[in-house]
């Protein structure tokens, strides 16, 4: 997923990503950003939840002030539910404010999704309970009515099974590529919303040897402090270890 995200970050068809922000609870996007950076790209990364070396000296509002001005080019959002119109739900299922299952809350999504030119949606769990025809509660809308100020919306949705692109004019996803072991049919079976599908679906490229080495080494080094559990689970690395 991190490699697929990295490819989207550097998509030549998209507006350039000079300053990328990564919010709370986003280890996979953080890994993707570090992968882009460690591979030599000139991007500024602002990681909101870094405990040391936090980039903001005017408090946590500074991220939102930057985004309000249009100084953040790319952001990442997940969702407890995501629907076919790219609406995201971080509040809960059932009635307001989450009568069936309560999620943590919307964080900055209701602002960032509309202020940042490009958002990449991500969710590892690819199942009909996550990817629903219509979210129970809208934390942040995928598209807005004409006249409502908005700089951008979803560029793509990356899951544990595939990559979808998003067409805001049609408010509809299209399948772009499937990860190893998946097919167009297996993605269709696991997705609760309808989407477009090309006649032949490409495979998501495998990570290169260089990318894998970076992920396990320099990328993990950067992430150990903020995401110790993630690094332990994915790379079997403890917080004290450093690759020489």
């Amino acid at each position: 997923m991190a490699v697929a995200l990295a490819a989207l970050i550097q998509d030549p068809a998209a507006p350039p990503a000079r300053h990328i922000a990564v919010g709370a609870a986003s280890p996979i996007p953080a890994a993707a950003c570090w992968l882009v950076r460690k591979a030599g790209a000139n991007v500024r990364l602002s990681l909101l939840h870094k405990r040391r070396g936090n980039p903001f000296t005017e408090g946590t509002r500074e991220l939102f002030d930057l985004a309000g001005q249009g100084r953040i080019d790319l952001f990442f959002l997940g969702g407890g539910q995501i629907d076919g119109q790219a609406n995201i739900n971080l509040i809960g299922t059932g009635d307001w404010p989450g009568s069936k299952v309560r999620f943590p809350g919307s964080f900055g999504s209701a602002f960032m999704y509309m202020m940042v030119p490009r958002t990449i949606l991500f969710r590892e769990e690819h199942s009909p309970r996550v990817f629903v025809p219509r979210v129970d509660i809208v934390s942040a809308p995928g598209i807005s009515a004409p006249g409502v100020y908005r700089r951008g919306t979803a560029q793509a949705l990356v899951t544990g099974k595939c990559v979808f692109g998003f067409d805001p004019a049609r408010a509809r996803f299209r399948l772009v590529s499937v990860h190893p072991g998946e097919t167009a049919a297996s993605v269709r079976a696991a997705t609760g919303f309808d989407y477009d599908e090309p006649a032949t679906v490409e495979d998501t490229p495998d990570p290169s040897a260089e990318q894998l080495a970076l992920l396990r080494g320099a990328v993990c080094d950067e992430m150990l402090e903020t995401y110790p559990e993630f690094c332990r689970r994915v790379w079997q690395r403890e917080a004290q270890e450093r690759v020489a």
Binding site: F56, P104, A110, V138, A239
Partner: protein, 275 residues
């Protein structure tokens, strides 16, 4: 500046107070939160600036909280906030959902002493539909139709946080955690726990002054060593991830949570640590 004991500091926060707390990646005073639980506070209205974490979950589980206004409640990598989720399901608390920049903006309006401030975004989110106190107007400066959200000023009764040091003038050093300055400026009363009180003026030091909240905003200070624990205090001690995992595990059930309170809030060892 009025230097108090921790329990005396906690006694200033009365039942029903509105209390602003920073999240776990900033500097909540967990020592003061434990003292509030020991004092048996009830019906607190918590304000997460801009989100809430362990300190809020602890207060909710201990039955101190009537409502919480926040943009999210989470233990980060340790997962969902178990007592928040349980209390919401049981109907013993209410939640007023917001979005992070709105929390900051409402406090900034209070800082400036203006009744409201505008913020982009939010239109189309169901949050707006459940916030009758948030209004949408047509931008009076735009040549064409341009709806924009207005947010009311938010003035918490109390701001509670922890910091590395205060001086005898009541100036408090928070370093780059400037959101604490916003909370302090906007709140009626500011109660701070610190690792130490230094005997020089923080504002006389050009390097420390930009990270210092002026004593004019600070009402009372108490010394609480390791007062952020299990949160980390940058430069002093690290975030205690193992303790967070233990909390997340124990707080899954009410019985486990009560055992946690006995061990880490009410026990003699916990009391000794608070002195």
């Amino acid at each position: 500046m009025d230097l108090l004991q921790l329990d005396a500091l906690a006694s200033l926060v009365l039942d029903g107070a509105t209390v602003a707390l920073p999240p776990d990646n900033s500097l909540p005073s967990c020592a003061l939160v434990r003292a509030l639980i020991r004092a048996g506070r009830k019906n607190l209205h918590l304000i997460g600036v801009p989100v809430s974490g362990y300190a809020s979950d602890l207060l909710i589980g201990a039955g101190c909280v009537a409502s919480i206004e926040t943009s999210g409640v989470t233990l980060g990598e340790a997962g969902a906030a178990p007592r928040f989720v349980a209390a919401l399901a049981a109907g013993t608390i209410t939640v007023l959902d917001a979005t992070c920049p709105a929390m900051h903006t409402m406090l900034q309006a209070a800082e400036k002493g203006v009744p409201f401030m505008p913020l982009r975004g939010i239109i189309g989110s169901d949050i707006l539909a459940h916030r009758p106190d948030w209004k949408v107007i047509d931008n009076p400066f735009a040549p064409e139709i341009d709806p924009i959200v207005l947010l009311p000023a938010l003035r918490p009764g109390f701001a509670l946080f922890h910091a590395e040091m205060a001086d005898t003038h009541g100036n408090v050093y928070v370093g780059r955690r400037r959101e604490l300055a916003t909370i302090a400026h906007a709140s009626n009363r500011v109660l701070v726990t610190v690792e130490q009180v230094v005997d020089f003026d923080l504002l006389d030091d050009e390097r420390l002054a930009p990270g210092t909240i002026g004593g004019a905003y600070v009402d009372h200070v108490a010394i609480a060593q390791r007062g952020a624990w299990p949160i980390g205090l940058p430069g002093c001690y690290d975030f205690d991830a193992a303790h967070f995992a233990e909390y997340a595990r124990m707080a899954r059930t009410d019985a486990g949570f009560q055992a946690y309170l006995q061990r880490y809030v009410y026990s003699d060892a916990a009391l000794a640590a608070a002195e």
